[in-house]
């Protein structure tokens, strides 16, 4: 029980209590106000982060959120002007009780935020707007500047992406058109060129058979040239067609038993290569399997082996070897070796050229496209082919397929098939 000395003291205590209550009430009210302000800022952030929302939509939502953060939302009107565009609450009216803030972007003023009380506020305050309210609006205005900047940067980026996408689309369409043109071109070559060629070929031959005895030696020679060159032209066209088809064909990758493939190729060569009976084949029976397109790789082995057979036919004891070794990157490198005519390494860079030959057609027939075809196929499989040779001693061709491990190779092949 307190001791009171006078009524004054009692009165003073009562006053203190009343004052504390009033202060507590005010403090509570202030806390509520701060909560409203924070809620207001949070709502604004939430709106801005809505996916796909446009700047105008953001503005419209903000002008309706702002009054909620102020003391008297029902009589608050808000107007936002950004670069001449105006967004305001329905109830907005320019009044005497107005507060304005500038919206600044990159140091430039691009708009204003106006907040007006539509009637005199019911309570006595320092000016129309509380300090806290003014601070809130300054904060909002600053954020608006940044929001606008970010949104605009994003929109510029999207526009650029769209232009880029359109350009890619156009370019793809151009390329597809080109591919179609090439396809119909090669169809035209196969179809339209072969018909006249067949006629030249046929009639030159018939002429020769039926009338050779009526020609003198020169005449016969001319006829022979016409006939022989027509034959050669046919071969060149056929080879060109095979070669051009290669780039456009899709690779159908699968696991291939190289040993089986080689056996099949050698069996087929018995029919097409003269003098193959003389050849001694030494095939490594344990060639590792590879991943690739079966028909294309069959072509590789056929070309390499038939070349080996062809160019070693001149030797007394022709030997054709096939095997493999592993290189320093753990890749399987296959090789085909013959002990035949060989070629001069000085002309190495012509070796894989289209229709390039390092030997005379009289010595060794051929159009010079076999190796170009092999190289293209090996390249499409992500690999590499090279050769070593010595004139009179023989030649070895080495190649490896994709440098990726087998699991990756298939993915790599499918990707490069469309390049």
């Amino acid at each position: 029980m307190e001791e009171y000395h006078s009524t004054f003291e009692i009165g003073r205590d009562i006053m203190k209590k009343v004052m504390n209550e009033k202060t507590m009430k005010k403090q509570r009210r202030d806390l509520e106000e701060r909560m409203k302000e924070l809620q207001c800022l949070y709502s604004i952030t939430h709106v801005v982060e809505t996916p796909g929302i446009t700047l105008m939509e953001i503005f419209r939502k903000i002008v309706n959120i702002i009054p909620q953060g102020l003391q008297y939302p029902e009589i608050t009107g808000v107007r936002l002007v950004v670069e001449g565009e105006e967004v305001k609450t329905e109830n907005f009216r320019e009044t005497f009780w107005k507060h304005s803030d500038k919206i600044v972007l990159d140091g430039e003023e691009i708009g204003t935020l106006d907040v007006c009380y539509l009637e005199e506020k019911p309570e006595e305050n320092e000016g129309a707007f509380l300090k806290e309210e003014r601070e809130l609006m300054a904060e909002i205005t600053e954020r608006l500047g940044r929001i606008i900047e970010r949104k605009r940067a994003k929109e510029a980026l999207q526009k650029m992406n769209l232009t880029l996408e359109k350009r890619v689309e156009e370019r793809t369409r151009q390329l597809e058109d080109m591919i179609d043109e090439l396809k119909s071109f090669s169809y035209s070559v196969s179809h339209d060129l072969r018909s006249p060629l067949r006629a030249v070929n046929g009639f030159a031959q018939i002429l020769y058979e039926a009338y050779a005895d009526k020609f003198d030696e020169d005449g016969r020679h001319y006829l022979e040239v016409v006939r022989d060159e027509a034959v050669r032209m046919g071969q060149l066209i056929d080879d060109l067609l095979v070669f051009s088809k290669l780039s456009r064909q899709d690779i159908q990758a699968g696991e291939i038993s190289v040993n089986e493939l080689m056996a099949e190729v050698i069996k087929n060569l018995q029919f097409s290569e003269d003098g193959i009976e003389k050849i001694r084949f030494e095939m490594n029976p344990n060639l590792p399997p590879c991943i690739g397109d079966l028909s294309m790789l069959r072509q590789v082995w056929t070309n390499l082996l038939s070349n080996a057979v062809k160019y070693s036919g001149c030797k007394q004891t022709p030997v054709v070897e096939a095997g493999f070794h592993t290189d320093d990157k753990n890749r399987v490198v296959y090789f085909v070796r013959d002990n035949g005519a060989g070629f001069n390494m000085r002309y190495y860079d012509k070796l894989f050229g289209v229709f390039q030959r390092l030997h005379s057609p009289d010595d060794f027939p051929g159009t010079g496209i076999g190796l170009a075809i092999v190289r293209r196929i090996v390249k499409r499989h992500g690999g590499r082919i090279w050769a070593e040779s010595e004139v009179g001693k023989g030649t070895t061709f080495y190649f490896h397929l994709s440098s990726q491990p087998p699991e990756e190779a298939e993915k790599q092949i499918t990707l490069s098939a469309h390049s």
């Binding site: 169809y187 196969s190 179809h191 072969r194 018909s195 006249p196 060629l197 067949r198 006629a199 070929n201 046929g202 009639f203 030159a204 031959q205 018939i206 034959v231 046919g234 066209i237 056929d238």
Partner: protein
């Protein structure tokens, strides 16, 4: 109804030179006597369908790129008609296009042969074809009203 001279082979080929070479090749195996040539698709179809009783052919050698009506269309009509669907059709063409191959077999072609460019190969191919379809292959019995009338 006209009683036609017997025709074994219908050759539908637009190139006169290919035509000539084919006939020469057929001559080498004595098959050139009963051959009718048509220079375009319309002529080919006319030869077959202008009479209610189509000719009893041993084989039709059909080029694909024919003017007016192309080879595939002719093939389609031949295989769609009960009177003619049994006649063996051999497509004889320069085209090695997968699509042509696929569609020909889809329409029921009996054989698809690519014309060789080299003459000796060409001769060999045509004579092999001729000998096979005219001499070796068997067809169901024909009903020839005019012959029956003769008897």
């Amino acid at each position: 109804m006209m009683c036609m001279q017997r025709t074994d082979i219908l050759l539908a080929e637009d190139s006169p030179y290919d035509s000539e070479l084919t006939l020469m090749a057929l001559k080498k195996c004595n098959l050139d006597n009963n051959v009718h040539t048509a220079a375009d698709g319309e002529e080919a179809l006319d030869f077959i369908f202008s009479n209610p009783q189509p000719p009893h052919l041993k084989v039709i050698l059909l080029d694909l790129k024919l003017p007016k009506i192309n080879g595939l269309e002719v093939l389609r009509k031949l295989k769609a008609d009960d009177r003619t669907k049994a006649i063996p059709v051999v497509v004889l063409t320069s085209s090695q296009h997968e699509s042509d191959l696929a569609e020909s077999y889809e329409l029921g072609v009996n054989s698809y042969v690519v014309k060789p460019v080299q003459f000796d190969e060409f001769v060999r191919t045509i004579s092999d074809l001729g000998l096979y379809w005219v001499n070796m292959n068997k067809l169901p019995a024909e009903k020839i009203p005019c012959l029956m009338k003769k008897n």
